[in-house]
Amino acid sequence: MTTTDEERFLNRARKALESEDLGEDISQRLYSARRKALDQLDIPEKRAVYEKPWFTVFPVGAIAALVLVFNLFWLDPEFPEMPNYESELHAAAATELELLEDLEFVAWMLAEDLNAG
């Protein structure tokens, strides 16, 4: 087979294959298939976990919170001293108890007097 023969044969074969009309329906469906395939390019790709915004924000927030806690409770222990009310309460409670006992004693005395009288 010479090159010219082969070329002629191939040209004829190409024309024969190209001559077939697939029809409007197939052409339309192929167009739709192409559009559907190309539409994938408009959809943002799923990001990997390490690419998501919260993946960066979360550790930064956690570190900031740790620094805050560290500063508040460890580096700065000078909290204002709380007043000690314990002794005053005890004193008040003791006074109250004495008064109560006195009242009870007075009430008993009165009762005795009434009984005697």
């Binding site: 087979m1 082969e6 044969f9 191939l10 004829r12 074969a13 190409r14 024309k15 024969a16 294959l17 001559s19 077939e20 009309d21 697939l22 197939i26 052409s27 469906r29 192929l30 298939a33 192409r34 559907k36 395939a37 190309l38 994938q40 390019l41």
Partner: protein
């Protein structure tokens, strides 16, 4: 960055031939359409960012793989059902693609309109082995280089040349009465 316009033009340029190639093999409009759509989806999804000159061999590699998958599925189904009719011990280990029969019944509407040279060529193409068929369509119809055809067929360039040469010989032999 993907050049959507270039990709659209590329797909528009190959879609009809791709459909015809799938149709040659599977003989079913719906399945051929599914094959082409899957091929387009896969190309866009996986290889849209590749250089444009790589698209044709990649597209046809995906297409041929999908065609072969569908063809194998058909063969397996046919073999499964044939168990109930008669035994095929000697065919059991054969590669369904390499030894596939030339055709199974084509849809009537696909055969309508096949006249003259086109009909004769298509009948001759049916007689080629699947690899010869692929090599001929990719080289002669699609115009891929030997190297690109080899990438699409996932074989060596030497194999492409052999398949292509045998395909042309076979076609010329079959078509000589009609074409010469």
């Amino acid at each position: 960055m993907t050049d959507t316009t270039a990709l659209n033009q590329f797909l528009a340029g190959v879609e009809k031939r791709a459909f015809a190639m799938a149709m040659f093999k599977v003989k079913d409009t719906e399945e051929a359409m599914d094959i082409v759509q899957d091929t387009m989806m896969m190309l866009v999804k996986k290889y849209a960012t590749k250089p444009q000159e790589q698209w044709p061999p990649l597209f046809y590699r995906i297409l041929q793989n999908r065609i072969n998958d569908t063809y194998r599925k058909h063969s397996m189904r046919a073999r499964f059902f044939s168990i109930f009719t008669h035994d095929h011990d000697e065919d059991r280990d054969a590669d369904p693609i390499q030894n596939a029969p030339a055709s199974y019944s084509a849809e009537p509407d696909f055969q309508v309109g096949m006249q003259g040279a086109t009909a004769a060529l298509k009948q001759a193409l049916e007689l080629l082995s699947p690899r010869q068929h692929q090599a001929f369509l990719l080289r002669a119809w699609e115009g891929l280089s030997v190297a690109a055809t080899a990438r699409a067929m996932q074989c060596s360039q030497g194999s492409v040349k052999t398949h292509y040469f045998r395909a042309i010989q076979s076609l010329r032999e079959e078509l000589k009465d009609d074409w010469i």
